[in-house]
Amino acid sequence: MEEILTVKSLQKTIGQKRILNDVDLTLKSGEILGIIGPNGAGKSTLLKIISGTMIPTAGSVHFSERKGVIGIVPETPAILPALDGFRNLELLASIRKKIGKREIKEAMETVGLDPSNSKPAGTYSLGMKQRLMLAQAIMEKPRLLLLDEPTNGLDPVGIIDLRNLLFKLSDDGVGIIIASHLLREIEVMCHRVVIFSKGRIIREVNLQEQSQGFIEIAVSDLEDWKRLCQWSQENSNSLKELPSKGLPRGLLQTNLTVPDLLPQLIYAGIKIESIQTAEANLEAAFLECARSEGGLYR
């Protein structure tokens, strides 16, 4: 896959505050890249610089299609409230004059909006406004799509629709960058994720790698959890506790496979409720980063 976006040594300073600090990033055609991080980490600033609405202090952004459209879905829906959805998109399409009414209607239908709805867009629900933003972002068939908190205001069906749409666009070769707080959504949607903190990338996680030697285990109670901790220490395996509302849950790093590991744990008297090979676990990676950074949110 060809690289469509290259970000090199990007820096942004506003006043005395450094918002971005030497950010390097690449995006391939058809790749979905997630950006996660706490508020003020620099995610939105990075997207603004890539889309051209903000000038960096230093560094460069190279988009392979110099005069191509970049589809953007801003954090807050940007619409002319007095006009209906179709008219909003028609006005935006008139800026480049590359598409006609048919393509606009297609884009609206793709995101689940009715092109004949004559209600002013200002009266739309937040979810409908977000769908309209998606339609304007994809209607001119961009090669690069930037989404800032795209699931804001979307209902569960809307989130699933968005996920399917992004997978389809990815199959068509569109490079996509999503900035979000929602770990679960990023984990499901993205091929690769970068974790941002204080304006720099502190970790990159490839979610396409199915196994990195991690096995996720849930045990019956705290006594079993203690036994599991002891077993992992004795066998030189690292065990990370995962946040859980019910059963104690952890991520064990080991060379063993589940069929080999399970008899050993049972033999050690640990009651296992569930055990499975973990996919690259974003939550675990994020928590690990939080610990190593002294807490991302501090």
């Binding site: 609405t53 459209v69 953007i72 940007a78 409230p81 800026i95 480049r96 004059k97």
Partner: protein, 250 residues
Amino acid sequence: MLANVTEYELKKQFNKRLLMVGLIQFILLAAGAGIYLTYATPQRTSYEAFSFSVFTILPMALPFLSALSTGITLAEERSLGLVPLFISRGVSPLQYILGKAVGSATAQICFTCITLAAFLLTTFIFFPKGPILTFGAHSEEYLAINDPFMHSLACILVYASAALAFSGIALLISVWVSNVFVVAVVPTVAYFAALYIFVLLDSNLNPYFHLALDQSPGPAFASAGTYWIAVAAISYLLAVLCFTMKKNWS
């Protein structure tokens, strides 16, 4: 791309809001014609009613109505977050602001000229045609008496250039301020503050008078028109320069 952005701006400008502001302006002028009937004059004429209305009512309202009709366009798009949607489509900041300036200026000129022309035509229904004997601009008395139509036409052009200047000032403020209400009010405050300062400086300008028509030295229309066109040109030029030099357009 510049032509497309200008076309977009024109399509956006001619909307219900412009119609509403035009209606308000027309009602104010009609109210002025009503007040005209209470004043004594040797001969009531349509041109005189027009002249009286325009000179007494419009200077008070023009700064606000001009800003509200077209001047707030940039502030509105900034507050709605629309600017990034242009830039991500390959429109440069210079093309964007030039398109806005050309589009809003064209819309403002058309809007003011059409509203005033419509009012002038309406006065023809209610009053007979004839010279302006009492309520013309003092230094243009010859024109008012001998060619009242040309006097009214010149008056429309001066007011259109003043409206353009107020719209330009609003556009300039919008480069930094995205609050639509503030942007709409600033030209009015600036206008009355400037007139007040002229009075403090012992200038001949009367703060309650007519966009400088009455006290202009020499041919009033020419000097007042030039003055407002200069203010408009400077404010539009500054708006374009300042917006282009920004580092964040979101």
